[in-house]
Symmetry: C2
Subunit: 703 residues, 2 copies
């Protein structure tokens, strides 16, 4: 169903409306009336009478005309009754402001909430909330929220917030900046209408150009990510992700020793889906508002000019720009020559350009134009402390218009400059770094828009190996089974064979070709090498026989022996996957050994992931130079690794019973890639049991 | 000389004073008069007449009474003349506002500046500037600056700024926050009075409690750091370091392939000396102002409570606190029980504590007190969006006073709460993260204050080995000489001997004990292993002879052979030192191989460094777990490594002709530490020459 009735209702009822403006129920009535809603507003209260000139209906059924949207302000104990009445009266959407439901850790909140949901669902009524702050829709003149004094200027930003307080912060910010808002929805406990449904509706809303979301919890993470991916292709989505619900999961992750901390998984997933993930509250608002103004003037590249009349801030801005991955390249001599003609001899012509306070105001225009005309410059930061000349503002406005490149500003105590900037939609931020971060957000969105994305791999069938083995829940498969499953999904694994005794081991080795490795094949595993369960570098049948004999002596005559090709040296990688409770299967890649473990240098992507996604993940690794062949050693081609990552995502999606999978090491050299050891853990009882010893370190083929 | 005449002059002259308030020269006059300076103010201008009721002297000599401070506002071409006149009239300090001197990249600015300095020095006149914004001193009622509308409230922060614009930003910030300022000095080009001299004076100024510095360039970095170290022991010093002048040096660093990028060296040096180094403009002002208010209420530990009535911001604050290295520990059950008694059933009792908007206002006090009474909690963040109850503010103010623990706040739209907070000097920040960062600044200062520091090693004598060798400038010493120098300073190096032929090599090996390594000993060096110049694992004399023969065949019969003990396995470190143009000798430590190179995982300290400094550096390494023995391998004790770092600092200070020194690898296991290869590069011609091939990677003992 569409959310038209939520954002563009034809009529509204306030259930529990009050005459007392100090109560929420009176406050919301006043907000609705003062907001200028054009359709009928029906206060509902058994007490009857009149509120703000509207007759009060004793109950919703008594209204006598269709109600699209009901705002429920009654105490929690009476909320279910109100929902029932609304459903009976064929109200389309109810916004439940009342709290004390699922968010309440003690008491009967959860039970009450379940009753709300069941009642609404039975009656075909959609719910926003409970425990929310309401909804605002500028086009409809609808303010069915706690918030008053909302912006009257037209706007294009929509804000979806799980936190009511962030709603207040958002409105305070837009008010302070003189920016308008198109829609606001406080989604509270998301018992019915969730983040993603609002996002999907806003993606199609012609009045909305930018979507900002404050997210605490994703209900159905994979669905959220799917909607986010589709939405981010249409308009920018800026997200501030609060981590509360991850504290517990983070603890769990450290308990299982998993590589992919949930917080990191969620942030990686949001970015992968195309969201601009803000690091701080200020950056969240700054970037959302910058995209509102600059959506049609994004930087074409990462090279920015910094132009100023104020030395210190321009140094700080240059530092911040470089730290944020922007380039501040020196200008060509031809441009410097132009600048030299117009500026005092002591001006700084390089990039940054310090025109100095002594610059004649009639020269700004020529200078700024010369810099923005440069094809290699993608946009500009304009900085000005206290030199309040309208000509300064006009110079940037004119050059921006002429060259279609964004100019983002930091100013202090320059009301005239600010006025000109505002007229031309050049945003002014209150610190040099904030201007830089906002500009960086524009660049990031330009990149999201330019992303080719690549085709997702087709869904793969479930593993035949796994079906044949039919292992119990919670089982930990041995490495032979693990690698057999990998091969099914096109991930190359080392050639190997299982032998029961010395003679069979020798035959296997001869078939594989020397040198070989012989090791014990155990389920569950553990540190085979440490326990003397691996013999490397066997060059002939006699050596294989001796090794097999020794292993049988040590681990018992019944032990299975694994004879493997000895994989030549290369770059050691680890590749893993696990299921994140919020976002689903997550694929992790890192370099082997200390990189992944001691340094936590691991990049994550959620499944399904494209080869492009995987390549981006590889580029994120701090140890990425090692992939290219550091220290005179051969590197590994990125594409086979990326294909293996994408395939591992397919594997996890096709086999929901696989809880975790670790390939360690995955050895690559050039185009060759070989999984040497693999651990597959199935979902189930293992979660409760103490669990098998984990795949701690480099292992497998004796490395 | 003291800066009393600058900050507490008895009389002031304005050279070039004007009647026109639109000119700087008129503006400064007005600022001085309106600032309420109690002593005489003498306008000086050949035009004579009267300005703001003061008779204008035709020149400074004509004033007829002693002048402590002169403010020079004349154009640059006449500045030297003004300085000469001031010196002749025995003025003590001149503040030169005029610009176009050393900061100007073209023209005669530098020459003019040199003239200023020479003239002033000859006449015993001290100079602030040129190219500065003047000086402000609240106690003296002195506003000899560009800035007007300065704070009238008493203050304890002093601000020393190389950037005039940051002066304006600073005053705008304190005005907005209602905070007072004790002193302000804009130091401009620092031709005479430098950052460190002002800092040293402020360190002793009883009116100054916090020193904030905007630093672009340190003139005499080692001296700056010495003063900073002394000052930071007395009061907090908050620094925003702008990087402009490092761009060139950074390029140079990448040219020499040095590990220690200059920017990183400078930031490490500032922190080592005890400064609080801000990452952004906002953090700079936030932390400085927090220290002003909380200097006497610093957190005793890193465990913070977060208390709120607003859910979303408290999640974001928790995230930010953890990301900033603060702990947000769960509260003891006894405290939770107290909270449970006072709060609605759906409140969150854990830490963070969400008292919820439904909390009765008379319950705040008991809750906040119960939390701050906890000995394990060092302080508290108070967050409130829109619930404007004075009781909320009073609860925190009372608990803070009772328990002497800092409370730092974020609020939105709560004027009553803010009023109470302000009365009790609880600072309110405009975003949850900014409150967290300010709190983090308090903790960091508490740590600086608690630092034991440790004793600096005594200065060491110059190297006798180096004196005996008497190598030419720019020379690159061979590893034998390098290690001989290390041993002089107590850095253990592998046992080794030089041999000319097979027989001598065998004798050396026998004396060292087997196994040994034989390698060629070349000056300059390069990748000995790659060139087949290293033979490992020689277990008897015959093997040594064969190896020596082969190396002589390959490298020529005249090659010197180095016979070394084969150092057992351990943790591979690299230790290096170079001279930073700003801060002097810098010691760098990292883990061997890819860690230092691919990951740039290197920690820096300037010399002289204490063992404590070195231990802190080791803790900063991302790869620090490897030192403790990751992946089942033995670790290395930190103390011997730290001692070697401190000794390397001594070595660099004692031998100024050593430009660079690299120990790679330095192998450690337990308490044993051995330098296996060392490269010493002397200062001199090498800087211009193409330079020797660099010590690229793991090398030396064949590793």
């Amino acid at each position: 169903m569409s959310l038209d009735a939520l954002f563009n209702p034809r009529s509204v009822a306030v259930i529990g409306a009050s005459r007392d403006p100090r109560k929420i129920s009176g406050w919301v009535m006043r907000n609705l009336v003062e907001g200028g809603f054009a359709g009928p507003i029906h206060p509902v209260n058994p007490a009857g009478g009149e509120i703000l000139g509207r007759p009060v209906a004793p109950d919703v059924a008594a209204i006598g005309s269709p109600v699209d949207l009901a705002v429920i302000t009654v105490p929690r104990a009476r909320a279910a009754e109100a929902v029932r009445a609304c459903a009976a009266a064929r109200v389309q959407v109810a916004v439940i402001l009342s709290s004390g439901f699922g968010e309440a850790s003690g008491g009967d909140g959860t039970a009450l909430q379940q009753e709300l949901v069941a009642t609404a669902r039975a009656g075909g009524l959609r719910l926003l909330g409970p425990n929310c702050m309401g909804v605002f829709s500028a086009g409809a003149g609808l303010n069915a929220s706690y918030f008053w004094d909302l912006p009257r200027v037209p706007g294009r930003i929509a804000f979806v917030s799980q936190s009511g307080a962030y709603g207040g912060m958002f409105f305070a910010e837009v008010r302070a900046r003189g920016i308008g808002v198109t829609k606001f929805a406080s989604i509270g406990n998301q018992v019915d209408i969730r983040h993603q449904e609002v996002m999907a509706w806003l993606a199609e809303d012609p009045e909305t150009a930018v979507i900002a979301c404050f997210v605490e919890e994703m209900k159905d993470g994979p669905e959220f990510l799917r909607v986010l991916r589709d939405t981010a292709r249409k308009k920018p989505v800026v997200i501030l992700k609060a981590g509360r619900t991850e504290a517990g999961r983070r603890a769990a992750a450290s308990h299982t020793g998993s590589l992919a901390g949930s917080r990191e998984a969620v942030l990686a997933a949001l970015r992968q889906a195309g969201a601009l993930v803000a690091r701080t509250t200020e950056e969240f608002f700054d970037v959302a508002m910058a995209l509102d103004w600059y959506g049609d003037r994004l930087p074409a590249n990462d090279r920015v000019a910094i132009m100023t009349v104020s030395g210190g801030p321009c140094v700080i801005a240059s530092d911040a720009a470089e730290e944020q991955g922007l380039a501040v390249p020196p200008l060509r001599e031809a441009v410097r020559e132009t600048l030299r003609r117009h500026l005092p001899f002591f001006a700084a012509l390089g990039n940054p350009v310090d025109m100095t306070p002594q610059c004649e105001p009639d020269r700004y225009a020529a200078c700024v134009d010369a810099v923005l005309a440069e094809p290699e410059i993608g946009g500009c930061l304009a900085l000005n402390c206290g030199l309040d000349s309208a000509a300064f503002g006009q110079a940037f406005a004119a050059a921006e218009a002429r060259h279609g490149k964004p100019v983002v500003a930091f100013t202090l105590a320059t009301p005239e400059v600010d006025r000109v900037f505002r007229e031309h939609r050049i945003a002014v931020f209150p610190a040099p770094e904030r201007a830089v971060h906002a500009y960086r957000g524009l660049l990031e969105y330009a990149r999201v828009r330019a992303r080719r994305g690549g085709a997702a791999l087709a869904p793969a069938p479930p593993s035949a190996v796994l079906a044949a083995l039919a292992p119990p829940a919670g089982a930990v498969l041995d490495e032979v089974a693990g690698k057999a499953i990998l091969r099914e999904y096109g991930i190359p694994a080392c050639r190997e064979a299982v032998a029961r005794d010395e003679a069979e081991a020798a035959r296997c080795a001869a078939a594989l070709g020397f040198p070989v490795v012989v090791k014990v094949c155990l389920e569950g595993l553990g540190h085979k090498s440490d326990r003397g369960g691996v013999v490397l570098g066997l060059r002939d049948e006699a050596a294989v026989r001796r090794a097999a004999q020794e292993l049988r002596r040590r681990f018992g005559p019944g032990v299975r022996l694994l004879v493997q090709e000895q994989v030549p040296d290369g770059v050691e990688l680890i590749l893993g996957a696990r299921r994140d409770p919020q976002v689903g299967p997550v694929v992790a890649v890192g370099l082997g050994g200390v990189f992944a473990e001691a340094l936590r240098d691991v990049a994550l992507r959620v499944a399904p992931l494209t080869v492009e996604d995987a390549l981006e993940a590889l580029d994120e690794l701090r140890g990425a130079p090692v992939l290219r062949g550091a220290r005179g050693r051969p590197g590994v081609a990125r594409e086979p690794v990326a294909r293996a990552m994408a395939a591992l995502g397919q594997l996890m999606l096709a086999n929901p019973q696989v809880a975790e999978l670790d390939i360690n090491p995955l050895i690559g050299a050039g185009d060759r890639l070989v999984a040497v050891d693999a651990l597959v853990v199935l979902a189930g009882a293992a979660a409760d049991a103490p669990g098998p010893p984990r795949h701690g370190t480099v292992e497998g083929n004796g490395r």
